[in-house]
Symmetry: C2
Subunit: 364 residues, 2 copies
């Protein structure tokens, strides 16, 4: 059919229950706005290990390759903590990223006006924060070879990983950052440790070269990763778009996320290269984890996953109007004082996962 | 002579002017408390490049090997930004760390009561914060081989660094963390990315093994580095001692430092292995950088360097009473409302570098 094809991977912990709220929005779109998705579901993470013995099966991978976009809940939990390195739930996520070629991870850190007090940072520092971290996602030390643990002759062991980047890996992710910046405040800050690591020096040189050749209209600055970890705390609003490698991006995007005070609100997108028709493979997922401690108790905040779905509408399907509608519905519900436990504040009304879903669908 | 031997390396930027205030305290100790240091001075960083063409000369390295402790100001500045990778000011610092074998970097993050409002975090979150980050300093991706940038046949380039740790490297730094914890709140949190990197998995396994064998009285937890970057912001007081690798430690200790709101206050110590007499090689330096923008203007805060000197008295010379005296003098001056620009607040009296030094020596 010509319908848009979607693969939903609820995953572990709170994944299934937050995903249920997305299904309700999909149903609503189907009923009211006459956009119909062909939705498949699959298993990833611990639940896939339980069923298939692997964190993602070849069949599910094939499904992921065949759809227009993947929406993921969360993976992992204590049950699978002591499983071998290659079999752990996270390996399913890493395989998806690698085989779908999702090299650009977009991690917005946005502070909603209604939630400004949820941050542990002073309101002045974070009010109105809207920064975008573009994290390289299929390279660097996450995937570099050689890697492993070896026994040394003297009875010791040695653990090795390889941090590696090439010109084209750097260019393609920097390109995503420059393009995004053009639609925002037109500022990119590129982050590495060029003072210590040659891979970081190459990163800096290649970003600089690409900027000069194709994006000189965008304001470009460079920052060391340790300084960036500081500057985010000192004055996060100095940034518009940050582009950085896989490992630095992992830490800096989580730092920025926590600064907003509401992890349960933050979506993410992971994009591949455009094909001939300009379409990119894409995976969308909330920033929060599987939260095994509250799983199955109808307590989790479904908004990050709903906003990930909205990001999908925007980036994969150019359905900006529908994405706006969902984002506005979320704002309206928040402004009305409805809060899941994670964002609860004095004077607000505490609600469950499903009641948050109800409220948003009602506003829609 | 039997005097304690000290090498002072003021370095670049504000290094010389903050170090001048330490010399005044050394003179005061000489006069009043009858502790005499044999003080040598040397060049490191940009100023060494200007004089000798290298960021640290073999002679200065030999001096550093010959003394009981090294006190460093700061290195670097825009003047030397475009120098080759191996010749840059930072390379002097890295050579000192490596050749002196300073594998344990102690980075306290302390919030002074008088400065609680200087933090961008809410006062409740940081009031009374006193955490210690123990960063591995002579291994990991900073020094791993192979490393470098190579040309590929297709005209691209490839930058490589190697993240590598062995059992003994992990044990010796974890040992420092466990020993410190025993004198503090008895809690160690070990930080890596064992879910993604084998070197991190080895780190986790070896810390666990050492803990079981020798430090089971200390409370040990493990955390992924991205989560740690978040938890520091969410609730920094959950931590007592954090032990982590060179690169994660670089970022996390700077993040924690900025959370205190007063970088100009924070000292650090870098320690080597104990010799037969139990003495360790050691280098002490403020956490802040060379701040070229304010260098030479008598504006910098000398306290971080003074407190680094106090750490030296404590860790290298067991002169706890003298260290206490200096730390108390700093507290007294702060409580009295004297502030350099970086920690200035409404109602306080702004002072220069030298007046801050005056005030502290006067209290002493
Ligand atoms: C689960 C883990 C493998 C993953 C990562 O380190 O990339 C996570 O922290 C993330 O940021 O998506
Ligand atoms: C100057 C630089 C080489 C150094 C590092 O990365 O270790 C600095 O950031 C530090 O933390 O002491």
């Amino acid at each position: 059919s010509a319908n848009k094809k979607l693969l939903i991977l609820p995953g572990d912990g709170i994944g299934p229950e937050v995903m249920r709220q997305v299904r309700r929005v999909i149903d609503w779109m189907d009923r009211r706005r006459r956009v119909t998705f062909d939705v498949q579901e699959g298993l990833v993470g611990g639940i896939a290990i339980d069923h298939y013995g692997v964190p993602i099966s070849d069949e599910t991978m094939a499904d992921a390759m065949g759809v227009d976009a993947v929406l993921l809940g969360a993976v992992g939990g204590p049950k699978w903590d002591n499983i071998g390195f290659d079999k752990r739930p996270e390996a399913g996520l890493l395989r998806l990223r690698k085989e779908l070629g999702l090299f650009a991870n977009l991690r917005p850190a946005i502070v909603f006006d209604a939630l400004v007090d949820a941050s542990t940072l002073k309101a002045d520092i974070v009010r109105g924060l809207d920064l975008m971290i573009v994290r390289e996602l299929t390279g660097g030390v996450y995937f570099g070879e050689p890697r492993g643990i070896e026994d040394l002759p003297d009875g010791q062991r040695r653990g090795v990983n390889t941090q590696v980047y090439t010109t084209s890996e750097i260019h393609r992710v920097a390109r995503v950052a420059f393009e995004l910046a053009r639609k925002r405040q037109n500022k990119v800050c590129s982050v590495e440790k060029a003072n210590v690591m040659e891979s970081g020096l190459l990163w800096r040189q290649e970003v600089t070269a690409l900027h000069k050749a194709e994006y000189s209209d965008v304001e470009l600055s460079h920052m060391y990763a340790d300084n960036c970890a500081m500057q985010l705390i000192k004055n996060p609003k100095q940034f518009d778009v940050i582009v950085t490698d896989n490992l630095f991006g992992d830490m800096l995007s989580d730092e920025a996320a926590m600064m907003t005070g509401s992890l349960g609100m933050l979506p993410s997108a992971s994009l591949g290269a455009p094909d001939d028709t300009g379409r990119r493979r894409a995976l969308y997922e909330p920033v929060h984890g599987s939260a095994p401690d509250i799983a199955g108790r109808d307590l989790a905040n479904p908004i990050a996953t709903l906003l990930s779905f909205a990001m999908m509408l925007r980036y994969s399907f150019d359905m900006n109007e529908d994405a706006d509608l969902i984002e506005q519905a979320v704002q309206t519900v928040l402004n009305g004082g409805t809060r899941t436990s994670d964002i609860m504040a004095p004077g607000m009304a505490r609600c469950s996962t499903s009641v948050m879903g109800d409220s948003i669908v009602r506003v829609l």
